[in-house]
Amino acid sequence: MTSEPSLAAFIGRIRDALGHPPDLIEMQLGKRPNEAGALLFLETMCEKREIEQTLLAVLSFDQTLDTDGREHGGNGDFVGSHPLVPERKIRSPEEAVQGLLEGCALRIVSDDDGVVREATLYRTGTPAHRTVSTPSTEVTVRGPNESFVESLVLNMSLIRKRIKHPGLRIERMTLGSVTRTNVVMIFLEPVANPDIIAECRRRLQNIRTDGVLDSAYVEEWIQDSVSTPFATLLNTERPDVVASHLLEGSVAVLVDGSPIALVGPYTFYQFFTSPEDYYQRADIATVLRWLRMLAFLLAIFVPPFYISVISYHQELIPNPLLINIAAQREGVPFPSFVETIVMLVTFEVLREAGLRMPRAVGQAVSIVGALVLGESAVQAGLVSPIMIIVVALTAIANFVSPSYSFGISQRILQFMFMTLAAFLGLFGVLCGTLFLLVHLVSLKSFGVPYFSPMAPVFWSDLKDIWVRAPHPWMTRYPAMLRPKRRTRM
């Protein structure tokens, strides 16, 4: 202890620091007031049953503490090892307050003079959280179906049970000066590049904020660039995905209270990979990956291409199709850009409404809204029928992306390209494409070029980018992550 306050003063300082909360429970231990000490806990953060049945059952004995920390019963019999593993010993009332806020019970032992001799925190259950359930946004047909929950300890155990290697390193730190959120950085020490680990650690330690309520808070602090529509870190709710990236030398960050893990470095082409790629046959996975790439191109380029050819480059449309489109657009009062923007924004509104509403109602709103609104808009002559096809194709293509955040990036790009197409036609789309490529090659994720393995080229890594090579062929770690060793352990 830094000082030796009396038990009453010690408890008083804790009580004052917490503002005399109603859920702070104080219990006297021992037969006489000055004999054993006190037990403090916040009943809203602890599991009361565990305190009553286990902690109090042991601590209410008249106990002594031997030199190696083992407790003995009051009649001199050895009770056994400590029934509860202490979280840590604390040295100041401030530490005690922090421990109580983390959901620990505080046992304070005083001597005969009433001076605090020792204070220990005990983990007594964890705050309420969900049980492990199936992933909600990263659904796969084949493969494990577990997802992270809001408990950091449970999330770590989900990774531990997948990687039972002594080289798995977990570094813990506390972020948020007010929330004091536990954050862990996980990596596979024999594989992960030390520079990447050090960079990740440095960025985490440099976070200066009052609160971290979710991994998204951390993501914005540690990502490489803010001014980009692309995520430079993977956020996933699947422990198997995190494990697979750890196996390749990536670093994962878990945040207490968040069911989403962050993984980095993460590159552009990895957004086209789905966890299921590795649970399906290689050839099937390859075709599906190509399909996702095609869907990305469709999502980004179909609306701007439509606007361009309808408004500027009619000569590019085959003659029968041009006549067909002209017939459909007879009587449509808006230019194609306005028509497209209105329909896509309407769809986005419907989609957003569907997400926020209760699930059963949300689906109905999306489907009915899209169908009824689209059909009515065509019948009213506000939009052309082909516009519905363009919007539907684009919307469906947006959902193909395995990563939700990447899907949002696609939509942002789509609107940017549409604006370019409206003002400059295909010339604008071409300029936008070049600008996008320049932007992509300028990004980095924890020092790894974002467009790798295409720029710079890592030939050996292409077998898990353009195709998904069979597992026996993937004997080397991805070179773009600069792993400690090249061949797999």
């Binding site: 007010v178 200066r208 009619q314 657009r329 194609s336």
Partner: protein
């Protein structure tokens, strides 16, 4: 505890002049580009599809008395095209007739009549009246070459019937007449060689520019013209229909004559512009209809011979399409005889077309240029002799070895 919270903003950031941060520069740059884009020229050539008058076919004529150019624009009525299955009572095309002092003036005059912007990029066919073609054609070709929005790959035709009738005629099945003519060329070029795809404006230009005569299909009108949509309610497709027959020969800058329809195939064959030839030959087994499935043609001018010889070598693989033999089964000798008959016929017909071209002074095969390239006097091209060597084999005698004819006769005569 609040005291322990570090300040989010670094102290030096507060002193920094935010106007010149990289972020602000990026925002300023993007804003500037966006502002320029708003007033960029790209904005002003925007035109929606439904603001266009999509021209399917155009025609050129001239008025001999006034010397005025007469242009016809056949504009597609998109709704009538797409709804033709449900209702055929709307005209799929509307024809506008304009007069102007020059060909370019025709476009300006059309703008006075058309409520939509003329869209010439999708011309399917161009028709020139015979009298205009005989006057001169280079002005039209030159005009096309100079326009970035007019394709030189559009098919060119000559009409011998009045253009007013041809341009107001409605065609069944393929309801856009310009497209119907284009389809006719495409189908015929691969079926029997009477027409070739190489009658596009660019091909005609290439021929004329190299001193060679060009041949352009002639479009004719069968029967009386039917100018209303009532023709879609009649099953008589031939009554008032456009068809292609024969070719107009252009030498220099004008039309100089006509090539018969039967000669067109052999002209295209000698020119190496078709892989399909159809012919009826008289062999020892009787009258046989054959069609080439493959036709390879190589030609070479032997300029050092005296007189110079133009050697044309044809290698034909035949398909026997019709047979009326005097005996029931074809033998290898019969097939060989059919080949020999085809070789005789091909040699005879090719020579006839060649002789015609020489006789009339039409350099249909570019011999003038060949002579020049060989260092000979181009004017002597008419002295060049044609030698045709034909290699032939029957690739496909048909499903039957013989014919049903004798078999049926023998069965009929049996008791």
């Amino acid at each position: 505890m609040d005291d322990a919270i570090p300040c989010d903003v670094a102290p030096e950031a507060a002193d920094k002049d935010v106007t010149f941060t990289p972020m602000n520069r990026t925002v300023a740059l993007v804003s500037a580009v966006a502002a320029i884009a708003l007033v960029a020229a790209g904005c002003w050539d925007m035109r929606e599809v439904n603001q266009l008058a999509i021209v399917d076919m155009a025609a050129l004529d001239f008025e001999p008395q006034t010397g005025m150019e007469i242009g016809y624009y056949q504009v597609v009525n998109p709704n009538a095209i797409t709804q033709q299955q449900a209702s055929g009572l709307r005209s799929p095309v509307y024809t506008y007739r304009v007069e102007g002092r020059t060909i370019a003036d025709l476009g300006r005059q059309a703008a006075l009549r058309l409520p939509r912007e003329l869209f010439p990029d999708h011309y399917q066919s161009i028709i020139v009246s015979e009298r205009r073609a005989r006057k001169e054609i280079m002005q039209l070709l030159d005009f096309f070459e100079r326009q970035f929005d007019r394709r030189s790959t559009v098919q060119l035709f000559v009409a011998v019937d009045p253009l007013e009738d041809v341009m107001t005629e409605l065609t069944p099945l393929e309801r856009r007449p310009g497209n119907a003519l284009r389809k006719l060329v495409e189908i015929q070029s691969s079926a029997n060689g009477a027409l070739s795809r190489r009658n596009r404006i660019k091909d005609v230009l290439e021929d004329l520019a190299t001193g060679r005569c060009a041949v352009v299909p002639i479009v004719r009108l069968k029967g009386k013209p039917v100018r209303n949509v009532g023709r879609y309610q009649s099953s008589d497709a031939d009554a008032g229909n456009l068809y292609l027959h024969g070719g107009a020969v252009f030498c220099g800058d004008r039309m100089v004559g006509e090539l018969g329809h039967d000669d067109m195939s052999w002209y295209h064959a000698l020119s190496g512009r078709t892989a399909a030839l159809g012919a009826t030959v008289r062999a020892s087994v009787g009258s046989v209809d054959v069609r080439t499935e493959r036709l390879r043609i190589q030609s070479r001018l032997d300029a050092h011979a005296d007189p110079p010889v133009w050697r044309v070598r044809m290698k034909a693989a035949l398909h026997v399409t019709g047979l009326r033999p005097d005996k029931p089964d074809l033998t290898h000798d019969d097939l060989r005889d059919i080949c020999l008959a085809f070789e005789r016929k091909a040699s005879e017909r090719a020579s006839a077309v060649y002789d015609l071209s020489v006789r009339r002074g039409w350099d249909l095969f570019g011999l003038r240029r060949k002579m020049t390239l060989a260092g000979r006097d181009a004017a002597q091209w008419s002295t060049v002799r044609l030698r045709v060597d034909i290699g032939c084999r029957v690739l496909n005698p048909g499903e039957l070895a013989g014919s049903y004819g004798p078999q049926i006769e023998s069965e009929a005569s049996s008791p």
